[in-house]
Symmetry: C2
């Protein structure tokens, strides 16, 4: 989706990926096969590109800095990424900037962590410092016994966090240009799948969120990007607690699932905004094109091959105004993000209802 946005603006796009049949390789003839942690592959990519960006954060910032030293621009920069890819360091960066969020400490020993947990109160959250996503690398311990049971063997790579008993999850996309200027999208509500691990639907703006809360959420988003000197589009996930607090959960240094609705529902899509910011172009307006918008993820329901064609046909028949995005992943598996549906509406609730009708039709067989 970022590649499409870049191409519209006249840029040629080269992809680095180990899989020559990955979604991005289907939208450009320029492809370097290789791992993003393989220095040779990175060099080859850098030879083809003036500007490099990432679609996930499982990178080694040090390796990227070698490319930067050779004169290639990478956004977000290796310095920014070094403050984000390790979730404990990320938490420290936000804490140092005075951004409200849960307490967080590295794991040293069961004893010390149990003590912390008693201090914060159980439950606590064990989190892999690197590489976790969509619930992978997250464990919840409700008691000292569970803490012992969930204790990871590679505990040095984990941290422990205060458990936030949140009412709902909010998210904000925000971009920061090379000139330091920022643009912030509407605050959305991100509704998770029943297991709580994966974004299921998004509606914009977040229903019932007051003006003051909206401004508070947006301000957190901007301060979070500034805390890591970020350039590019960032997804900031927030907790909204029952007592009205808004706390930062995590930041993704890239266009984010909870910003997919911007593609068809905002003046400037998050993907074009990302390309604009990393290319030094002026950021675009972030306004919604109507009173509300919604996104429903198309999550894989089974493992194996799946043809999207009849699903797309059913969804568009049910809701002709829906925008279907199918990523072209060659294999589906339960819970895998295979695509999404965007719908504009007169209100976020109405848009969500419509998006769910389209999605239901998509999977019906």
């Amino acid at each position: 989706m970022s590649a499409h946005a870049a191409q519209r603006l006249g840029f040629k796009v080269t992809i680095l990926d180990p899989d020559p049949e990955c979604p991005a390789s289907q939208v450009t003839p320029f492809f370097v096969q290789g791992q993003h942690i393989d220095p040779d592959a990175l060099y080859q990519l850098a030879r083809h590109c003036d500007i490099i960006t990432l679609e996930h954060e499982w990178v080694d910032p040090e390796q990227l800095s070698i490319i930067e030293e050779k004169g290639r621009e990478i956004y977000p920069s290796s310095k920014t990424l070094s403050l984000i890819v390790d979730k404990y360091i990320q938490r420290q960066s936000f804490c140092a900037a005075g951004i409200p969020g849960p307490e967080c400490e590295p794991l040293y020993s069961v004893e010390k962590t149990t003590e912390l947990a008693r201090q914060w109160g159980f439950p606590v959250v064990l989190k892999a410092r690197h590489g976790g996503y969509d619930g992978y690398g997250v464990r919840i311990a409700r008691s000292p016994e569970e803490l012992l049971r969930e204790w990871p063997s590679d505990f040095q790579n984990w941290c422990v966090e205060e458990f936030i008993d949140f009412d709902r999850e909010l998210a904000v996309m925000a971009a920061r240009g090379r000139d330091g200027k920022t643009a912030v999208y509407p605050v959305v509500e991100s509704i998770q799948t029943i297991d709580g691990h994966r974004c299921d639907t998004v509606c914009a703006p977040a229903p019932g969120l007051g003006e003051e809360e909206t401004e508070r959420a947006k301000s957190i988003a901007i301060r979070a990007i500034e805390a890591v000197d970020g350039i590019g589009l960032f997804g900031i996930e927030l907790f909204h607690t029952k007592d009205g607090r808004i706390l930062i959960n995590e930041m993704a240094p890239r266009p984010h699932n909870s910003g997919h609705y911007t593609m068809d529902c905002c003046v400037t899509s998050q993907f074009e905004q990302h390309i604009r910011s990393i290319c030094g172009l002026r950021l675009g307006p972030t306004d919604l094109l109507s009173g509300g918008a919604a996104m429903a993820n198309l999550l894989g329901s089974k493992t194996g091959d799946f043809s999207s064609t009849s699903g797309v046909a059913r969804a568009l028949t049910a809701v002709p105004q829906s925008h279907i995005h199918w990523y072209g992943k060659s294999k589906t598996r339960k819970g895998r993000k295979m695509g999404h549906v965007n719908v504009l509406g007169s209100s976020p609730d109405e848009a969500l209802k419509t998006a769910l009708i389209a999605r239901e039709a998509f999977w019906r067989e």
Copy 2:
């Protein structure tokens, strides 16, 4: 732009083009090098594709029918194309359906054509029956002397048309699905370059067009598609005369320059609508996303290489809400369509004003 729309819906796209660096080849890895009139190249393309469509109409319908007989779907069909690619036959098809348009006859001899011209009144328009576009293949004769002077040596391939002294040019995009259902976009005004040969800007809806005239224009568009049993998205160019008549000028069997504004300004873009119709998907709503929209073509100003990057930067700085589309053509030349700017506004006039500011900034050096 059609390829992008198809990819979003989950389709893989293969391009046939003689030039491996053509714009479309930059957005997909699947490419067949060859001429669209070379049967071998067409076979190779057909081997890769379930559904074939065209981005220009300089094809040989008979050759396409051979591919159709081998079981590949082509939209618009060879039968439809055979009623369109020859401009005299196209005119006859519309005339037979009772659609108002200028008189038209083949060229037989200078004498016979002079007689016709006296009957209709000078000036008359000489038109190449095949392959003309943007003013190429069009000659105007204001007197019997000019007719003699402009008489083409290959006159058998030309026709002569009544000259319509129109007030302005209108255009309508309309789609027709495989099930015969149609969807019609707003009627737009298409403003030509000073030489009159090339679309320069478009605003939607056409300023000052009354409801009755709008409905008349839309009805012509639908009847024109039905007259050629068209499936796909068609661009219908119309003359609007001072005395309020609306006459059909030409029909393009594909997404059209005067429909580019739909990309960022309508619920469903003409490109997605085209893909939906040829793939048997339900057509989408054609509503404008605000009170007005405008498109300004980025026409090449000189011959040679041209880098768009700084132009894009200037345009977005001047008008951050503008949507720049740069096609990635490797060479520019005076008048060549290199890209376009889309802008949403509160009215068509305001949108046009803004689009012109963005365009002016694009070319400023």
